[in-house]
């Protein structure tokens, strides 16, 4: 009895919880083991009375749906699409639910209670000492971090491209460069760059499979020095389609003649289907003023200045590209024109004071010109003329125009006067500035921030 009482006294010293003290008064095994290591026992049965110690009554199950099934089955329950649905391509949209790998962000050996397990997440011997199992301080943010990681998983991250890499519209592929074609043997395709012109998903209805989806990529490749080619590639996956198209384009290169390496040889007209293009030769510095597809093809070929008007179907990218390429290939060199028309081809430039530069001489020259030889552009455009919008012509006798002239007359020459003053005096000043030096414009100078 004394031994029992002693044990009870021990209990009292060890656990100040009187509830457990009460429990200990029941007959238990008479052993004098130390009970430090025993964790507190969670009582499943309700305790004696609520007035003493306010227990929380919560039913707990140790077995449930979550513990009975493996992870992939669980995920399937949440993200399920039937087999038939999969065939029809259901559940492959952008907002579909994806299974998340919950093991990500977790390491074996680290859990809710942050413990040091020697052999698992720490070495057993460090120096000359044995490392003991220890409880490390809790990481309060661990749960939050895991949840954050899981929230970010599966969501479609919007690609942020630098402005130089962007295509025609946001992160979408058309207009973007996809690099060099793959090398073939010794050919490295150095200096070549491919640009996607069209990237779309096309479907085909079949009897057995139903609707089959494929991606179609229309691509142009070129070295900026006269060589260019375009091709289509189709595959299930977008990347595969792109690669196919790129390599096929590299196989179908064509050489395009340019004038002084910056523009077309002459104005021309082409058509492919309902797409008609009028192309005009332009001087240095004009730029590529044309349909975006034509612009990419010109960059690939190495043309820097051109004007092209697309009439008819402008949306049909493939037709626009084909029409333009056909036109480029059908260009006539000056020698050819001279031979065909049996006349000298002479160039007149304003910058050279209209000095006649003979570009090509034929082997034999006609003495009489026919009506077709009067205008070279008409001959090259195959008799077609592009409609030009009429420019607004001012009616000089209009009283409102005269009124406008009278109103604007007082500052009509101010721009030129400003320029002349800057040239002569270095500043815009009045004629009184000599006599009265304070009568001058004070130029606002921004203070440079000292970094």
């Amino acid at each position: 009895m004394a031994g029992l009482w002693n044990a009870a006294k021990c209990l009292v010293q060890l656990s100040p919880n009187f509830a457990y003290l009460k429990m200990s008064l029941r007959p238990i095994a008479v052993t004098m083991q130390s009970i430090n290591h025993l964790s507190t026992v969670k009582m499943t049965t309700p305790l004696v009375s609520s007035t003493m110690f306010n227990p929380v009554v919560s039913p707990v199950r140790h077995t449930s749906f979550f513990t009975k099934l493996p992870a992939d089955k669980l995920w399937k329950g949440v993200t399920s699409v039937s087999n038939a649905g999969k065939k029809r391509g259901r559940g492959r949209a952008v907002g579909k639910k994806t299974a998340k790998n919950l093991n990500r962000g977790q390491v074996i050996g680290v859990g809710k209670t942050n413990m040091l397990w020697p052999g698992l997440n720490s070495p057993i011997i460090q120096g000359k000492e044995l490392i003991q199992q220890q409880k490390l301080p809790d990481d309060p943010e661990r749960e939050a971090k895991l949840l954050k990681l899981r929230d970010e998983m599966g969501a479609f991250r919007l690609l942020r491209l630098s402005p130089l890499d962007r295509g025609w519209s946001g992160p979408k592929l058309p207009g973007r460069s996809v690099g060099r074609p793959d090398p073939v043997g010794e050919d490295d395709f150095e200096g070549f760059d491919t640009i996607v012109l069209e990237f779309k998903i096309v479907c085909n209805m079949k009897g057995n499979l139903g609707r089959t989806r494929r991606t179609s990529a229309f691509v142009v490749t070129g070295n900026g020095n006269g060589l260019a080619g375009f091709a289509i590639g189709k595959a299930q996956m977008g990347m595969t389609a792109l690669r196919k198209a790129k390599n096929r384009a590299a196989q179908k290169l064509m050489y395009v003649e340019r004038y002084n390496e910056h523009t077309v040889m002459h104005d021309f007209f082409t058509a492919f289907g309902k797409t008609r293009i009028f192309v005009q030769k332009k001087p240095e510095g004009y730029g590529l003023v044309c349909h975006r597809v034509i612009r990419e093809i010109c960059k690939a070929v190495g043309i820097k200045d051109i004007y092209a008007k697309v009439e008819g179907s402008t949306k049909n990218v493939q037709h626009v590209a084909k029409a333009f390429m056909v036109g480029l290939l059908q260009q006539k060199s000056f020698e050819k024109i001279a031979e065909e028309t049996k006349l000298h081809v002479v160039e007149f430039r304003k910058e050279r004071d209209y000095f006649p530069q003979i570009m090509a001489k034929p082997s034999e020259v006609k003495t009489v010109k026919s009506i077709n030889d009067m205008d070279l552009n008409l001959y090259l455009n195959d008799g077609k003329v592009a409609t030009k919008k009429k420019k607004y012509q001012v009616n000089e006798s209009d009283p409102t125009w005269k009124n406008h002239l009278a109103k604007t007359e007082r500052f009509r020459n101010h721009e030129q006067v400003r320029v002349n003053l800057l040239v002569d005096h270095g500043e815009v000043r009045s004629f009184l500035a000599d006599r009265y030096p304070e009568c001058r414009q004070i130029k606002f100078v921004k203070k440079r921030e000292e970094s």
Binding site: T263, H266, Q280, K281, K282, P283, E284, G285, Y286, I337, T341, L343, H344, V345, V346, E347, F348, R349, K350, E351, R352, D353, F355, P356, I358, M359, V365, K366, T367, V368, K369, D373, M374, L376, N377, Y379, V423, D424
Partner: protein, 344 residues
């Protein structure tokens, strides 16, 4: 001194009768230019020499007629237009080429080399009763049509009562206001000031400087002469003759070098570039300028040799160049004769 019953009735400025009076002796303090008949550095009056026919032909031959360079791409300050193409028969091509010849001649017309003009000193009258009529001078110009600007009457009434003919600067300014010449500014542009010219020349913009000087000044204007001389001397020092060779300024430049006895650099350049015709023409020009003689030697090589042995100033360099040229010529002739023999 003479009476001038001048009633400028149909001219468009206020007319006034000039009565008989004594011309007072007032020094015109407008511009103090040292205009000597013989320029410092010139052996003869350039105006005399320039207009001689044989001199003109020699200068034209020296300039040459490189169509490509004369009609080079100019920066017009306007939007570029695409070139125009035409299909032409042989007759049409010849016609167009003939038109170009005319343009070429005009483009290669040489601006004359003259001596500095004397300042204008003429005084019409002195009316001291008008003293202090205003703070500033009054300038009158005759703006009737049909007179050239050189002959136009431009007259100034000073606040001290003197009625005098306008100085050259005042004259040019007034004429430019009423009869503007394109490319000419009323006030002299800052480009022609000391430091700024040097800047332009350092950037090799000789043709631009000379063209602008032609547009801005008259050929006998002292400023024009100083600007052009500076350019010619700079080109000569740095032997950058090729940039000016096909232009209309080459002739006056050569004449300037010959007159100021600095033609040896140019001769050296011609020998090095194996342009014997040009070298011979240059020597002929020298003789024409020096003592109006045309040398009797027909052979160009002999002509040049005589010059190098005789009046040349930079003998060592010229002799060396000449010797090396002769050797190259000899070798070339040998090779040529060998080829001929082999083909025969």
């Amino acid at each position: 001194m003479a009476t001038r019953a001048a009633m400028f009735t149909f001219s468009k400025f206020r007319y006034f009768p000039i009565l008989k009076h004594r011309v007072a002796k007032f020094s015109v303090s407008s511009n103090l230019l040292n205009a000597s008949a013989l320029e410092p550095g010139y052996s003869r009056d350039p105006g005399e020499v320039f207009f001689k026919e044989n001199v003109q032909t020699l200068l034209e031959r020296l300039t040459g007629r490189d169509c490509d360079k004369v009609f080079h791409n100019r920066k017009l300050g306007e939007r570029l237009e695409p070139p125009k193409y035409e299909l032409l028969t042989q007759a049409e091509v010849d016609h167009v080429m003939a038109e170009m010849e005319v343009k070429l001649k005009r483009k290669l017309q040489m601006p004359p080399l003259l001596k500095e003009r004397d300042p204008i000193k003429k005084i019409y009258s002195f009316n001291p009763e008008l003293q202090g009529f205003d703070d500033s001078k009054y300038v009158f110009i005759n703006i009737s049509q049909g007179i050239t600007n050189r002959n136009r009457e431009v007259v100034v009434r000073d606040p001290n009562g003197v009625l005098r003919e306008a100085s050259w600067e005042e004259r040019q300014r007034m004429c430019q206001i009423y009869f503007p010449v394109p490319g000419r500014k009323i006030n002299v542009p800052k480009m022609f000031e000391e430091g700024n010219i040097q800047n332009c020349l350092d950037r090799d913009e000789f043709e631009f400087v000379l063209d602008r000087a032609c547009a801005q000044f008259d050929p006998d204007d002292p400023e024009y002469i100083s600007v052009t001389r500076k350019t010619y001397d700079f080109v000569d020092e740095n032997t950058k003759y090729t940039s000016l060779r096909p232009t209309r300024h080459f002739g006056p430049m050569v004449l300037h070098l010959v007159l100021s006895k600095k033609m040896d650099n140019l001769l050296f350049h011609f020998i090095n570039t194996k342009d014997i015709d040009a070298a011979a023409n240059l020597v002929r020009l020298f003789h024409t300028v020096a003592d109006d003689t045309s040398p009797t030697e027909v052979d160009e090589f002999q002509l040049i040799e005589n010059y190098i042995q005789g009046p040349a100033l930079k003998k060592p360099a010229l002799e060396l160049a000449w010797q090396s040229f002769l050797e190259i010529e000899k070798q070339r002739r040998e090779v040529h004769s060998q080829q001929n023999n082999a083909s025969n």
